[in-house]
């Protein structure tokens, strides 16, 4: 049954491409996406009782490939379906629609496939499909430097997938299987020292695809590319990164009986978060600000997932969903803003709330979500992360959210004021784009107000929020918001160092060196911890 969630989008993609129906095609696309959300929701409700397994081909034992949908996978698949529906509504009038819908649908099918598959080699094949699709979408309009960006993205990802494949080879040699569940059982009796190498190889690949610290140089190029349609940037930031975070979770789970490099990923996550928002402060291009922010948020998610307590894990998981919602809203609205104002410079865009109230309110809600304002979804996930954390960790989290606030004060200054670059009255934002952006923005608010219920609904676990603790967090938020405003006004605006950071860029060879360094660091950490204990 699960097979068709992957195959049907792909079949429809090829079908639409063959028939080359432009205007009819997008109607079919929207209808299909709505139906897809319904079908996914139906399966989602089924998984509340027990996980669903599909044995492709029905061969005995472990000879074939298994697909499974458990609680976690179901949440991700539901997120994918909703996200693609909204992105499709947003890009209803996309130019060159034939190719666009073809690639979007294949991307959707392959993403769902990554969430559902239990076979690691199958995951590799799907990742390659997605990589090629994304590389084409990045340079969709073939402007300026987009071809270079696309090539950079493609070559780096193709390089790192070789590491993954080599690690998979070692894993297969030792366990004799490529199935995650069966490999977990087979790994139980193994020596820890034997697994260090495959673990490091596979995790290096996954870490690059999640844009962790030394290896994030491809992400701003890919996500902030001016040539890509805005819906593509939104899906890249909101969903595509999550595919690999999901694989990271599965892989950690698989190796967890023997290896747990939680400390390593905690440190890397925190560092990534800090570097991400520092670089975001330096940018002036609105899409690049958001792209660097994705790095920062991924760092936060990794920190939450690696802290090791129940609540921080829930917080990390919930932040994945939240990040998809508000980053989607921000990227989509950024696309509309760029079209309306005709510029990408954050200092030239002013008066958004007055000109375009719909876009402005959605942007405002998303900003409140990402900075962790009370009643919005970011606050819930950040609260869960901080619940069981140590005192130092709490300070670090507050520092990270302060950094987020500072850079979003800059972003939020678009909402008010007046400037020369304001558009003529004639430039209108299409209704469907406003609907899509507003839907995502509203969801940020909704999942914040009903935070506990949303967590229960998505992850099927029970959580509670302590009112007093939440109020304390709200106080901290307001304090840091005021602090952030003044820091931005008196330091960031005039800083020379940040201006220099703006032109920070890594070449391909330095990126390769970074991969090597990360691999060595991970190998040494995991290996030395083994001798230490």
């Amino acid at each position: 049954m699960l097979t068709y969630f992957i195959l049907i989008p792909i079949i429809i993609a090829v079908f639409l491409y063959m028939l080359a129906c432009g205007k009819k095609g997008r109607a079919i696309a929207i209808i299909f996406q709505t139906g897809f959300v319904g079908a996914v929701y139906y399966v989602f409700t089924l998984t509340r009782q027990e996980e669903i397994l599909t044995n492709i081909g029905g061969y005995d034992s472990i000879l074939g490939i298994y697909l499974r949908e458990d609680t976690m996978a179901a949440a991700f698949v539901l997120l994918t379906a909703i996200f693609f529906l909204i992105a499709s509504i947003y890009s209803f009038r996309e130019k060159d629609g034939r190719l666009f819908w073809f690639l979007i649908f294949i991307w959707q099918g392959a993403s769902v496939g990554i969430f559902l598959t239990r076979d690691l080699f199958n995951a590799f094949v799907l990742i390659e499909v997605v990589t090629v699709v994304v590389a084409i979408l990045i340079m969709f309009n073939r402007k300026n430097r987009s071809i270079y960006d696309g090539m950079f993205y493609l070559m780096l990802n193709v390089l790192v997938i070789k590491f993954y494949l080599l690690g998979l080879g070692y894993l297969y040699r030792m366990t004799g299987t490529m199935d995650i569940v069966i490999a977990t059982e087979a790994l139980v009796g193994m020596e820890r020292s034997e697994l260090v190498l495959p673990y490091a190889l596979m995790m290096t690949a996954i870490a690059l695809k999640c844009a962790l610290l030394p290896m994030f140089s491809w992400l701003p190029k890919a996500h902030g590319s001016p040539a890509a349609p805005s819906a593509v940037s939104a899906i890249l930031s909101g969903l595509h990164i999550k595919c690999t975070i999901y694989l990271f979770l599965r892989m950690q789970e698989m190796f967890s009986t023997l290896i747990s490099a939680y400390e390593f990923f905690l440190v890397i996550g925190v560092l990534t978060g800090i570097v991400g928002f520092v670089l975001a402060m330096a940018q002036s291009d609105i899409k690049l600000i958001l792209a660097y922010h994705t790095i920062s948020q991924v760092g936060l998610i990794f920190a939450g997932l690696s802290m090791g307590s129940y609540y921080s894990h829930i917080g990390g998981m919930y932040h994945i969903v939240n990040h998809a919602l508000f980053k989607g809203a921000l990227f989509l609205s950024a696309g509309s803003i760029i079209k309306a104002y005709g510029t990408r410079d954050v200092y030239q865009i002013r008066g958004l709330l007055r000109r375009y109230p719909g876009l402005g309110i959605a942007t405002l809600m998303a900003i409140l979500g990402i900075t962790g304002a009370p009643l919005f979804n970011g606050s819930i996930s950040k609260y869960f992360m901080a619940t069981d954390a140590s005192a130092q960790m709490n300070v670090i989290l507050i520092f990270m959210s302060l950094g987020t606030i500072i850079s979003f004060v800059k972003y939020g200054s678009m909402l008010f004021g007046k400037s020369d670059a304001e558009p003529e009255a004639g430039v209108k934002v299409p209704a469907e784009q406003q609907i899509a952006v507003f839907a995502l923005g509203f969801m940020c608010f909704f999942t914040g107000v009903f935070g506990v219920q949303s967590v229960q609904f998505l992850f099927n676990t029970s959580v509670t929020i302590d009112r007093l603790g939440y109020l304390e967090k709200a106080g901290i938020f307001f304090a840091s918001a005021i602090a952030g405003f003044f820091i931005y006004k008196y330091y960031i605006k005039t800083s020379k160092l940040l201006k220099r950071l703006r032109s920070f860029e890594m070449g391909f060879r330095s990126a390769c060196v970074c991969i090597g360094v990360f691999f060595a660091a991970l190998l040494l950490t995991v290996g030395l911890v083994q001798y230490y204990y």
């Binding site: 590389a135 430097r145 960006d149 090539m151 070559m155 080599l166 860029e505």
Partner: protein, 121 residues
């Protein structure tokens, strides 16, 4: 049996060596075409590693009826590696098209020059 294990071990070492030679080439060269060649070299090393799993002297291809498991090569990596090779071809084709378009535009295939000229335009 003992020599069999030694055999796989040596081939594995060679594969790792070539894998890192390819990686070294990626870091040391500035030419994009050569980078693509080295990606291919790395892929070949990985494929060789997969195929050498369980290699023993006198092993035969897994083709025929009434095979004895101890005497034939492992069929699963072979099937997977065909998939990998085809994907490699597709990715290389895409990559080279991008590169030719870039070279046509900027008249160079050097990573640094391409970066500089791309950010100018």
């Amino acid at each position: 049996m003992n020599t069999g294990i030694l055999n796989t071990d040596l081939i594995e070492l060679i594969c790792i060596l070539v894998f890192f030679l390819g990686f070294y080439g990626l870091i040391a060269t500035t030419n994009v075409i050569k980078s693509i060649v080295f990606l291919w070299v790395m892929e070949m090393a990985v494929i060789m590693f997969f195929l050498s799993i369980g290699y023993n002297i006198g092993i035969v291809a897994p083709i025929g009826t009434d095979l004895v498991p101890g005497q034939v090569a492992d069929p699963l990596p072979q099937a997977l590696m065909i998939t990998t090779i085809v994907i490699g071809l597709a990715v290389t084709a895409v990559n080279i098209t991008m590169l030719i378009t870039l070279v046509r535009k900027h008249k160079s295939a050097n990573w640094d020059i391409l970066r500089k000229k791309s950010s100018e335009s």
